[in-house]
Amino acid sequence: MTERSWPAPSRAEQGATAESIDTDAVRPRVQRGILLPSLYAGNARAVMHRGWLVVAKTNWLIVLSGLFEPILYLLAMGIGLGSLVGTVTTSTGAEVPYAAFIAPALLAVAAMNGAVYDSTWNVFFKMNYGKLYQGMLATSLGPLDVALGEIMLALARGLLYAGGFMLVMQAFGLNLSLWALLALPAVVLIAFAFASFGMAITSYMKTFQQMDWINFIMLPMFLFSATFYPLSVYPVAIQWLIQAMPLWHGVELVRGLTTGAVGPHLWWHVLYYVVMVLVGLTFTTRRLRALFLR
């Protein structure tokens, strides 16, 4: 069989009425990629656009509400509790006001929450009830397009929360160094890692009860990852455990940048997230393939 040598479909001769379909018009062209051509069509942005459209037309208020959570924490804990605490010593030995200590942690948490919400509950629903992906994968999109598109959407949300919160930090004078500018890309990386990992985990979930496990892990991680006090208060064994968890790396990375305690040690945190991104993407793509291209 020769490649693409079939004749163009014969055309009814009548003029194009409203009811006839003009089959000779544009046909989609798929650029065959070098990377995983059977899984990726290079069109993740279409998946992201779809998400934006839904958010823009239906629930942007819900999205905005996510912005206020870290601000409320900052006011209650940073300003309120902070007036009792005074200053805290960071892991690099610097003395900083309590609000400036917890603000970067809350920033990392905001990125995590935005990304995790979009990549877990949102994806879980679409996967199991909306049949959305089934429709998407009947088009030229591949599973990697879908995964990347959803993750980019989660990133955008993470970035929105982070940007808003950084402005609040600036207003309260909690960005202690110019390095704080780099906190934005750092937050994107954190969101990327949580989103790709979250989506990978979600793809294995079958019921709502299982989804509750995600919250069960997220809450203690939020409370204990050196968010509200330094890691040094824990016994060594607990310190190791917390350092193995992903949020601690985000807290340390962002705190290093906003307080200006920058050093090569920050690269370890970056590396941690890069690995997390790669592992998450690999599992998500594999899993979507197993689920939808069976």
């Binding site: 079939w6 046909r27 051509p37 069109n43 279409a46």
Partner: protein, 308 residues
Amino acid sequence: MPAPVITAVDLVKKYKDFAAVDGLSFEVAPGESFGLLGPNGAGKSTTMRMVGAVSTRTGGGLGILGLDPNTHGPEIRSQLGVVPQADNLDAELRVRDNLIVYGRYFGLPYSYLRPKADELLAFAQLEDKAKSRVDDLSGGMKRRLTIARALVNNPRIMLLDEPTTGLDPQARHVLWDRLFRLKEQGTTLVLTTHYMDEAEQLCDRLIVVDKGRIMAEGTPASLIREHSSREVLEVRFGSARNAEAAEALKGVGDRIEVLPDRVLVYAHSGEAALARVTELGFEPMTSLVRRSSLEDVFLRLTGRSLID
């Protein structure tokens, strides 16, 4: 003859040890309207998914538009229009946005999609529903929207999996009309159905599949000729007497089949068979002579027992 758009050779799909599709071979020519018939669980939908490049085959060969779906999924899918068995419209988007966003998945530009969406809404007779929510549409409207959506990329092949299941007669006829227009315009149609009238209306050629294998292949007319008689006489003698009467009527027509409520006599001429029945001294409570249909072929080939 032009190169076929679909070529399947000994196509096999196994789930663990169970072979859902067990060695199907068929070809579909461009512009042809091709049907897969079979009872539930025959392997129709599995075959459709493999042809739609959303399921990897376990064995055999499959070429869609000259490409291998295992390695060229996105390229093949970009040339297909898929109407799945269950509607999977995007309930979070309005009717018109469903068409546009779906077109975006194919990488098509907005400048093309906006007029195209309006054209397709007209084709699906949904112009006044453009801004409606998908959930507010009736079953028939959803189905038409799904078909319109499948046309957004000007597909070379349309794959329709039980397109009219669950629709009322009016909605079915509207849908058939739309599909017939597509066929007239030269779009290749591949459809599964278990409505025999639908297959007779829409298919140039079809295969009857059961337990993952092809039981018969041909045009609707040739299948009827080959596997059934020209006419069928249906006579009722009352539930208690049907079996007894059928025994006595042996030799009338080509073949006799006893059902719980009636006796079917397959014959070239139903009237002549009925005359013979009365000659033999039987007085049926009711009698009906009809043309043989694809349904007779189907039931003969796949049996009458209920399949779940």
